[in-house]
């Protein structure tokens, strides 16, 4: 019987775990429990910057049901950090932001732990709180990290005082470029801190086995980063900790690096009992991480015909109290600040400054949404001054296939031109002047484009053929809700020409999975996908070796046949099933079939003949996806409220392995970007975060988001991508704020350079009748 199966790559297969999620059976960290488990709670600092002189835990210890109260004194002296090893597992000796965990309690239930936590007293010697980069850069400002110089750093950092990192990237000669320009536009742009608000708060559960080895489940984006962070900060050998994952209730960068895992492991080690901690929403807001607020000075020089000749960018980032992913965000934002444009002379420089605030870190886009807001609104300003249509200007100055990225990195596939053409056509861009505004409303259309990498660091995959011929795929990549489990299984099934039901996916496990850096940098489809295809190729080779011996033919005469068979080309009757091959491999000859692949992204970011770089954190970065987004907005003249009525996003993903999931990523990116543009901002009242709740921090709801979000998929295949695929997780969010800002300008003639574009700011600008700042 020949089994005809449709190609599984390119089909919108529902998530493999759809039914468990729809019936309430999916288990997230808060749903896991272990026998004899204790519950933990944190004690948060009440000051922003202070030396810790002592603790009084007696009252907390005395609460019936309390099993352990640990303070910074009970923790080892290890430090963690993705770029700078500057962060202890809990505040030790010093507090660096208000709300920072200073102690933790384990008790028989959560209510008891929280009650006892409120009774812990800490004696502080307060230091001046530095609440902005400017304040932290003042001469004589106290050092937030006195030992910064001696901390280990993973890249050639330029740092000192309260400057955690300084990066500069340059090509050409900007002074000469500006001297030749007919038009120079220079402005200041500001973006606000955005909270991730994954609907699942962070949490962890740790258990110590009788031999002293730790098993740790947690909300995460990488079981391997969890392992590294816990072991570095607690000075444990990595082999002594096994990190696992339940289902993850959303992660947008907030679950990539550590949150409560080190504290939970320490409590489990100290008590000898399983310990679970789930943060409240407020604690999650106050202690995890958020998107950096950027101050950006951007200056661009153009010729009368629109050609760009120079750009200079200066950014200032609030790092918060710990380095976390911030040096990467700074460097990446500068690498993206030229945009997908031909500009021969570019200089981008930025500083990342420690402050006494919550750490800022990775958040979908990784610094790109901020610089794209500046860059893509500035292109519109240039177009307006030159009297050129914003689309026509972009088409004129766009990088072309074959062009290098800023600093010289290779761009092997580039479908941006097609993205622009398709979004332009779908949105009726060229006929936008014919549209009418309703009474009391101003209607406008705005466009912005963008690019993003997918790639970075080490990745692996293991494909095993079990005795019955079924397949288990093991990659270690955590599906954070974006759908990578399904996509990876689709690729494995396609490569081996078996139905998707034949392939099961092993849950990520640091003991058994091959290393992967994590679910971040839009990288799983591209990097893990490549490893999956290569590992499946190894399996195919081994299957054919067995088959050629079984069927007595040459290996080259064999082919994989749909449905789990290897046969002789042109001879339908001569074939061997995976079942028979695998039985032979297990019991008679050759050994069980296992395919493995691991690799590390190794194409250089920098061409030293073309560009100079100082403090560059990513010497090898990734391949490029592209997007063009158009927003149709309506502004209420009475309130200044901006509504997005409709949106189009054309995205070049190389190859859509699962088009439905690509749409999901793009729609979600649009609405998250819309929140960044219009309503989301964390607000500090002095040192205290004033809106750490969903009542006070506004996330777009179904009523705020436009129902008409149109995703248009463009497929400019990446030559080395799996089936041509590249990433889609982040690219969509980058141009959204600029597209909306450009639409606001189109609608009302006002130019907002500060986010979010709240009704108040829009109305003020409209009342001033001109250009607001």
């Amino acid at each position: 019987m020949s089994v005809a199966i449709a190609s599984v790559v390119g089909t919108s297969l529902p998530r493999l775990e759809t039914i468990e999620k729809l019936t309430g059976r999916a288990q997230y960290i808060a749903d896991l429990n272990r026998p004899g488990q204790l519950h933990a709670a944190i004690v948060q600092a009440t000051v922003a910057h202070a030396r810790i002189k002592g603790y009084d835990t007696a009252a907390a210890q005395a609460v019936p049901g309390v099993v352990a109260v640990l303070t910074g004194d009970d923790f080892p002296d290890g430090r963690m950090g993705a770029f700078i090893k500057d962060e202890p597992p809990i505040a030790k000796g010093k507090v660096r932001y208000l709300g920072e965990p200073v102690a933790c309690v384990a008790a028989i239930d959560e209510a008891t732990a929280r009650k006892a936590a409120r009774l812990v007293r800490v004696d502080y010697e307060e230091l001046p709180a530095l609440l902005s980069p400017e304040a932290a850069l003042e001469p004589g400002a106290p050092a937030i990290h006195e030992d910064l110089a001696s901390y280990f750093k993973v890249w050639p950092a330029v740092c000192g005082g309260n400057v955690a990192s300084e990066t500069e990237l340059a090509e050409g000669d900007v002074a000469r470029g500006f001297a030749a320009a007919d038009l120079i536009v220079e402005n200041i742009y500001e973006t606000s801190p955005q909270a991730h608000v994954a609907i699942e708060p962070c949490g962890a559960l740790a258990e110590v086995d009788p031999a002293g080895r730790v098993t740790l489940w947690s909300a995460n984006q990488s079981v391997f980063r969890v392992q590294a962070n816990v072991c570095e900060s607690l000075l444990l050998p990595m082999s002594k900790l096994r990190s696992l994952t339940p289902r993850i209730g959303g992660g947008f960068g907030n679950k990539m690096e550590a949150h409560v895992q080190p504290m939970v492991v320490m409590l489990a080690l100290r008590t000898g009992r399983p310990v679970k901690m789930i943060l409240s929403r407020e604690e999650d807001f106050e202690t995890v991480r958020a998107r950096h607020p950027f101050k950006i000075r951007m200056k661009t020089g153009a010729m009368r015909d629109g050609t760009l000749v120079a750009r200079e960018v200066e950014v200032l980032l609030d790092c918060g109290a710990y380095g976390d992913d911030s040096p990467g965000v700074l460097g990446y934002s500068l690498l993206m600040a030229r945009g997908p444009y031909r500009i021969p002379n570019v200089r981008c420089h930025g500083k990342l400054v420690y402050t006494n605030k919550l750490r800022f870190g990775a958040f979908r886009g990784f610094g790109n949404p901020q610089v794209s807001f500046a860059g893509e609104t500035q292109i519109d300003e240039i177009a307006a001054k030159l009297g050129i249509d914003p689309v026509e200007l972009r088409l004129k100055i766009l990088t072309q296939p074959g062009d290098r990225w800023f600093c010289g990195g290779e761009v092997a596939s580039n479908g941006l031109g097609e993205c622009i053409a398709k979004a332009r056509s779908a949105s009726n861009w060229d006929r936008r002047r014919e549209r009418k505004s309703a009474k009391g409303k101003r209607r406008g259309l705005g466009l912005a484009i963008g690019a993003h990498i997918s790639g970075l660091l080490g990745t692996g995959a293991i494909v095993r053929v079990l005795e019955d011929g079924s397949i288990v795929l093991n990659t270690g990549a955590v599906d954070i809700g974006q759908g990578s489990d399904t996509v990876l299984v689709q690729m494995c099934a396609e490569a081996l020409k078996v139905p998707v039901e034949t392939v099961s996916l092993a849950s990520p496990d640091t003991d058994g999975s091959p290393y992967t850096w994590g679910t971040t940098a839009s990288r799983v489809t591209y990097t893990t996908g490549r490893a999956v295809v290569a590992a499946a190729g190894e399996v195919e080779k081994q299957l054919k070796q067995h088959a050629c011996e079984m069927l007595e033919c040459a290996v080259d005469d064999l082919e994989l046949r749909p449905g789990g068979k290897v046969g002789i080309k042109g001879v339908p009757a001569k074939e061997a099933s995976f079942l028979h091959i695998s039985l032979r491999a297990h019991w008679r000859a050759g050994g069980p079939i296992v395919g493995h692949n691991s690799w590390v992204f190794n194409k250089p970011t920098l061409d030293p003949k073309r560009a100079v770089a100082r403090g560059l954190p990513f010497p090898q970065i990734g391949v490029y996806s592209f997007v063009c987004t158009i927003a149709d907005v309506e502004i209420d003249e009475a309130s200044g409220k901006v509504d997005v009525v409709e949106a189009w996003a054309a995205v070049d993903v190389g190859r859509a392995i699962n088009p439905g999931s690509v749409e999901g990523q793009m729609e979600g990116s649009f609405v998250q970007g819309m929140g960044f543009a219009l309503c989301e901002a964390m607000v500090w009242d002095g040192a205290r975060l004033a809106n750490p709740t969903l009542m006070d921090y506004k996330v777009p709801t179904a009523l705020d988001a436009p129902h008409a979000i149109h995703t248009i998929i463009v497929e400019a295949a990446e030559p080395d991508g799996p089936f041509g695929a590249k990433g889609v997780g982040e690219v969509g969010i980058n141009p959204v704020a600029a597209a909306i800002a450009n639409a606001v300008t189109d609608a009302a003639g006002i130019r907002l350079r500060q986010l979010p574009m709240t009704p108040e700011r829009v109305l003020d600008a409209m009342l001033e009748g001109g250009h607001a700042n």
Binding site: S12, P14, R15, E17, T18, I19, E20, K21, L22, T23, G24, R25, A26, Q27, Y28, A30, D31, A111, T112, H196, V197, A198, I199, E200, P201, R247, I248, G249, G250, F252, I278, S280, R281, I480, G481, Q482, G483, G660, S661, E663, G664, M666, E667, G668, S669, F670, V671, Q672, T693, L694, M695, V699, T701, A702, L703, A705, H707, I709
Partner: protein, 157 residues
């Protein structure tokens, strides 16, 4: 800690008596005493909607409902929405249209959508947006969720 008191609840057509603190929310009782973890604690403040359950057919925040006040009510959680092991029209539509991403909001979203379809014969897209406005989803952008509910309207008739 206050003393526990016996509380009898009708959850998913099964009547059970448990010992609960008078101040326990329905969310706590469902998750910790009844082992029904489909309702999620997203904010514990009645804003995110991840803890939505049906109380006498109406979508309610279980994090704001006291268990002791629910003794005369019929409570339906996501675990009880299937009948005879078959998915409800909304569940089927969510699966078919790819309206499930991370899944953390899904239980509450499905129950809110189910209640919307129970109370409105032919809701428009805007009716659905309004009905779901109390349930935050951070992954999807809502489009596929709304499309799924509209699909379920057609599928039901």
């Amino acid at each position: 800690m206050t003393e526990r008191i016996p509380i009898t609840l009708d959850v998913n057509r099964t009547v059970r008596t448990i010992a609960a603190h008078p101040g326990d929310t329905l969310l706590t009782t469902l998750r910790e005493d009844l082992g029904l973890t489909g309702a999620k604690r997203g904010c514990n403040q009645g804003v995110c909607g991840a803890c939505t359950v049906l109380i006498d057919g109406r979508p309610m925040r279980s994090c704001l409902s006291l268990s002791a006040n629910c003794t005369d009510a019929r409570i339906t959680t996501i675990e009880g929405l299937q009948s005879d092991g078959r998915l409800s029209p909304v569940q089927k539509a969510f699966a078919k249209l790819g309206a499930v991403q991370c899944g953390f909001c899904t239980s509450g979203m499905v129950l809110a959508a189910h209640a919307c379809l129970q109370s409105q014969a032919a809701p428009s897209a805007d009716d659905v947006r309004t009905a779901l406005a109390g349930n935050i989803c951070r992954c999807s952008g809502y489009k596929k969720i709304i499309d799924a509910v509209l699909f379920a309207v057609g599928d039901r008739s």
